[in-house]
């Protein structure tokens, strides 16, 4: 083969490969993505979550439902959502906080009624922060933010360095030993993209968990935010947590 022919052949192959990668391959990916999402358009939604702590009774139904739905290990170290109990005893300034087994089994009575000044439960889950620290620190971009406001983990890409777990100010992430990847609450992304509610919202017997589309002004979450004076956890962290809480003290972190 002459040098000119060789250069021609190489050039043609390179151009063909380039054309395939830039034009044909992405369209195939886009089709797969569309099929997987079953027509769901993430640019048309912006999901929001609210917790009404004045309603929560600490029954742990949400924790149990979450563990079942999302195959979360049943041990006391792995939780996508959990419930904390804040108890202010008479004569004490700081609250007593506990979360036995993440609230999975409910909360056994620990304090005498006459000693308690006030008490409330605080359900916790991933805040799907607007400026997520976990996304920032992931060295390979396995953790990413979707257009509808949810932070997800790509299990095919996570290397298992656990930097995101350390970076989350809310302790919302854990290492899934089965996949070897960081894991966390996704607000049941597999359900909400099909028009269902997250399983913890469905399981709550007192409607303490509120979920909906913030782009829809008539949704439950839009009405909840409109009706209550809500606050978010750890605003000083600059992560812009997106779970709206009603009825918590500033002691709740």
């Amino acid at each position: 083969m002459k040098r000119r022919d060789f250069i021609k052949a190489t050039g043609t192959i390179t151009l063909a490969a380039g054309a395939y990668l830039t034009v044909l391959k992405p369209s195939a990916n886009a089709k797969e993505e569309k099929d997987w999402l079953n027509g769901y358009d993430w640019s048309k939604h912006y999901w929001g979550f609210g917790i009404d702590c004045t309603k929560c009774i600490g029954c742990g139904s949400c924790v149990r439902a979450c563990k079942e739905e999302n195959d979360v290990p049943k041990d006391p170290y792995h939780f996508r959502c959990w419930v904390e109990r804040y108890v202010y005893l008479k004569g004490e300034e700081k609250p007593k906080v506990d979360s036995p087994n993440g609230g999975y089994d409910g909360f056994p009575e620990k304090y005498k009624k006459e000693e308690v000044l006030k008490a409330f439960f605080v359900p916790k889950l991933c805040n799907q922060c607007a400026v997520p620290a976990c996304v920032q620190v992931c060295p390979v971009g396995a953790t990413y933010q979707t257009k509808d406001g949810v932070v997800l983990v790509d299990e095919d890409y996570c290397i298992g360095c656990r930097y995101c777990i350390e970076a989350c100010p809310f302790g919302a992430r854990y290492m899934n030993d089965e996949t070897g990847c960081a894991d966390k609450c996704t607000w049941c992304y597999h359900r909400i993209t099909k028009g269902l509610k997250p399983v913890c919202v469905e399981a709550c017997p007192v409607e303490a968990r509120i979920f909906g589309d913030l782009k829809d002004k008539d949704s439950d979450i839009s009405k909840f935010v409109e009706k209550h004076r809500v606050s978010k956890l750890k605003p000083d962290m600059g992560c812009e947590a997106r779970v709206e809480y009603n009825g918590i003290d500033s002691e709740v972190r």
């Binding site: 041990d75 006391p76 170290y77 792995h78 939780f79 959990w82 904390e84 906080v97 506990d98 979360s99 087994n101 993440g102 916790k124 620290a133 996304v135 920032q136 620190v137 992931c138 060295p139 390979v140 971009g141 890409y157 996570c158 290397i159 298992g160 360095c161 656990r162 930097y163 777990i165 350390e166 970076a167 989350c168 100010p169 809310f170 302790g171 919302a172 992430r173 854990y174 290492m175 070897g180 990847c181 000083d236 962290m237 600059g238 972190r253």
Partner: protein, 395 residues
Amino acid sequence: MPVDLSLIKGFIYPNEGWFQWSFMLVIYPYITGLVAGAFVVSAFYEVFHDENFKPVSKLALICSLAFLIVCVMPLQFHLTHHLRGFEIFMTPHLTSAMAGFGFVYLWYLLILLLEIWFNFREKIVEGAESKKPSFRRFILRILLLGSHDVSEKAMKTVHKVAHILAIIGIPSACFLHGYVGFIFGSIKANHWWASPLMPFIFLLSAVVSGVAMMYVLYWICCVIIKREPMNHKTLNSFIQMLFGFLIVDLAFEGLELLQIFYAHIEATEPIKELIKNELMGTYVWGQAIIGSGVPLIILIFLEWIIPWSKKHLRQGLMLIASLFVLGSVLLMRWNVVIGGQELSRSLLGTFHFTEVFGTHEGVGVGICLLILPFILMTIFSLFLDPWEYEKKEVN
């Protein structure tokens, strides 16, 4: 690995009950620090022409390379998907401090390899042109990269390039380890880590540990292997250098604590509890009082009280001070990495980490990784022989 729930004081988030960064993440900054520290020792001769460090200058370069090769291994062991580790280099997420480390590491590796190649140029050519066939000759012939020129003109260029590389190498080495500090210091969720001073603390402690390690190696070569008698000007320079950097390092660490206590931030009381309980042994006694206080006193004695004539006493005391400093810096890494995780991000409690020996992230593998650089360094020394130069020149 799970923590003992009975050892939790106060309240921690449920997911914090599983310890994420263990011994591998302790020795990763430790080994990286030794890389930077050893290079700084070498640079004192290569850049600042301090003749007193000439006997250890080339050994320090080899040492730096050996530790640099090993320093990413703890991270590799730590990953749950070991084979995906290379993705940090191939598809880095540029906002991540950890991804940035990959580039800083590669840059420093390039500088160091070039520095070694230029510095050992004469030795490589000499060995490659040896008439006696050997495996060493075979390797050195590959390292020649096709150039046999050791003429006066060529060597002048080689020394010039080596000097420039050493100048570039100093900020690169400092950046390498300062960056490791940034990986921890930039985690705002952890109040024990989040500090703009963290890169400086890591860097200074790295230099301190590097100086101490180079003295220990020099002592082994002079006293145990008896390759050459110890140069007492070199010993004195080591004492002064260790003393100086230790003072600055302790000042920075003190400032960090002062800032936490004096500013009285939200985390001040929880951090006090952490120090009083979980870190009392490793931080207060281990790192501060024994690990830093004892060598500081020894160095004061060596600097001003013990006369130069008592050579063996000075050598021995400096060895003790260096070993204490090495232990102290290892404890410093422990106290940062493990201590930071023992403080709950809820700031409502602490818990105790129990180290395990046998797993791929355990102390056993960690000790092997701490020994490995010394084995590599010995192998490199057999090929490049950093001591023969000095022997000839001393004679």
